[in-house]
Amino acid sequence: MNHLYRELAPISEAGWQAIDQEASSRLPTYLAARKLVDFAGPYGWAHSATNLGRSAEIFSPSEGVVGSQRRVLPLVELRTEFRVSRVQLDDADRGATDIDLAELDEAVGQIAVGENVSVFHGYQAAGIRGITESTSHEPIAYGDDMEQYVNVVARAADVLRSTGIDGPYGMAICPRVYTSIVETTEHGGYLLLDHLRQILGGPLVWAPGVDGAIVLSLRGGDFIFDSGQDLSIGYLDHDVDTVRLYIEESFSFRVDEPDAAVALIPGG
């Protein structure tokens, strides 16, 4: 048994399978950051910090001795709780394939948004500087006219290219703008979505939790998501009606190349 205490839950193998499958099938839709940044690990629950390869001088412990201390980036733990009805779990044991896992679905979306926000915009309390906080480039503003969006994205790609950051490039986009892009057809019937893909050479990613959009290089080595425990489901407690579970992960994130991303913000 590990720290998730799954064996203590009054859940059969069929029940766990239904819960895990539901979470596994929904998470990739929400997990935008993992589609665009490098993923290292998972290194396990005991992995506590990312080595930054740097040290900082500290007070001397005694005369003639110089002290310095290694700098590390501690991993953050994110967790969202949810409940599952025991009646629904009993139905899963009977072979039901449509059991109600609404709270799990909500928790999956919440933790994925937490991960996206941490990577793209940062998580100050955890010491994580996000991509939009770290970028060395001025943000590029866009307006409501989606046809102008082509010029904005082309400018962003050009900014990266002109600073020696190679492609392909990808783009994380807030849900509102993503929907507008998908709905827009340019003059000549060309889909805006396809045109933007051609400019970037990489994917456009629906990214809940993101404000505006971010264009970034996918060449690798610029943005590192350091996973301790990958997304996992654990057991908290239960009563006669429900089982209380949680979905949890631990990670750190760092930007190694601030030149490799450009933020797009509304208001142009």
């Binding site: 998470l27 997990l31 998972p42």
Partner: protein, 128 residues
């Protein structure tokens, strides 16, 4: 071509699965090369050739280890088992006797499905 060894139609497989297959195939090839070199080292009567072949054989071990590590980082069940068995000193069958949540074949009480990890990992390059 990586697709030559696929057992399912390529159209049904995502990019991450094909990459996993590439790494597995590469690992098999490295291990096979180690075995071949090792036999040649033992078979040759020329000591200088044996030294060259032994050097080459050990280079392949580095390649195999790198590929295995790539796979471990993307496979939580493999990660769990490698952590459990590698670098231990007791008899190997006794390392496993505590039971594994991923292998009900081991002695010990059957555990729930897997370690609890959903095995999501990297989605870079996944279809969307």
């Amino acid at each position: 071509m990586a697709s030559e060894g696929l057992h399912e139609p390529a159209a049904l497989l995502d990019e991450a699965t094909v990459d996993h297959h590439r790494a597995m195939t590469s690992l098999c090839e490295e291990l096979e090369a180690i075995d071949w070199y090792d036999q040649r080292v033992k078979a040759t009567a020329d000591a200088s050739l044996a030294a060259v072949l032994a050097h080459n054989r050990d280079d392949e071990k580095e390649h195999a280890a790198m590929t295995l590590e790539w796979l471990r980082r993307r496979d939580p069940a493999l990660d769990e088992n490698l952590r459990r068995f590698l670098f231990t000193t007791e008899p190997i069958t006794e390392v496993g006797s505590a039971g594994s949540s991923t292998d009900p074949g081991w002695a010990g009480a059957p555990a729930p499905s897997a370690t609890g990890s959903l095995g999501i990992g990297s989605l870079k390059g996944a279809r969307r």
